[in-house]
């Protein structure tokens, strides 16, 4: 059998820094799309509670002990960093671990960098919030893992473009700040 070499989505692209801003890849967590079956909301909520989580309202996320659940659309959320088996029967579960590139942007001015790429005002965006929008022309899931830090999820196939766009915006922001 062929010996396959596992690569992360942003292999050889990250990390990069630009002044006090840093861009690095987040890897390793299991990502599962959770789409509740009709009539299963209560049982799903109970199953999530055992993980320390709750079903997220639109534009929100919650986390506990390294596991998190992020709203990603109507009747859909991503369970990240947790085993989804206990949710089986209550929701359609789809493994998406290898489908996404996760990129963490942090440092002073991170919101200003994203302002160049995202058509949403991110000043005041904080942990507990989540949104679907665009990064350039790419579909994106955005969360805030810590105050002043952003986690950007884009399709894995878009990893190179996403890193390029973000790094370009970081350099432009740094240049502007130096004037």
């Amino acid at each position: 059998m062929a010996r396959l070499i596992e690569k992360t989505p942003c292999e050889a692209l990250l990390p990069v820094t630009c002044g006090a801003l840093s861009l690095r890849e987040v890897v390793g967590d299991r990502i599962t799309s959770v789409a509740p079956f009709r009539g299963q909301a209560t049982k799903l909520a109970a199953a999530l509670k055992k993980l320390g989580l709750s079903w997220p309202e639109p534009n929100s996320a919650n986390a506990k002990n390294g596991a998190s659940i992020v709203w990603t659309g109507r009747d859909q959320a991503f369970l990240i960093g947790a085993d989804p088996d206990s949710l089986a029967g209550h929701a359609a579960l789809t493994d998406q671990s290898d489908g996404w590139a996760r990129i963490r942007l942090e440092g002073p001015g991170a919101a200003d960098v994203l302002a160049r790429l995202v058509p949403v005002d991110l000043r005041g965006f904080e942990p507990g919030q989540a949104l679907r929008s665009q990064l350039g022309h790419m579909m994106m899931v955005l969360t805030a893992p810590a105050p002043g830090a952003f986690e950007i999820m884009v399709f894995r196939s878009m990893a190179t473009t996403a890193v390029h766009e973000l790094h370009h915006a970081m350099k432009a922001f740094a240049a502007r700040s130096a004037v």
Binding site: P36, F37, R38, G39, Q40, A41, L44, P58, N59, T72, G73, R74, D75, P119, V120, L131, R132, S133, Q134, H137, M139
Partner: protein
Amino acid sequence: MRITCPLCGTRDRREFYYYGDAVYADRPAGGAAPAAWDDYLHLRDNPAGETRDLWYHEAGCSAWIEVTRNTVTHAILSTRLVAERGGTDGAAPKPRTKGKSA
């Protein structure tokens, strides 16, 4: 131009894909007369004023939205999820599982 997604809130127009008049969601029943299908497929009003159309929040939450807007003033008057609009002819796709919506 900004459109209020019922889920995401007010967003830039670039996140949305325009689909056309909201009558496209009112599909004729299976045995409807050819004239009804002709009307459904080809005939559209072109109002100067209030109109309703379908938009897809393509670069956002992927929800289909019915937008009521004014073609003269460009004002967005109201928005709601197509899913909450309800079928008018019972021809909506049947859910794969039974029971109430989660």
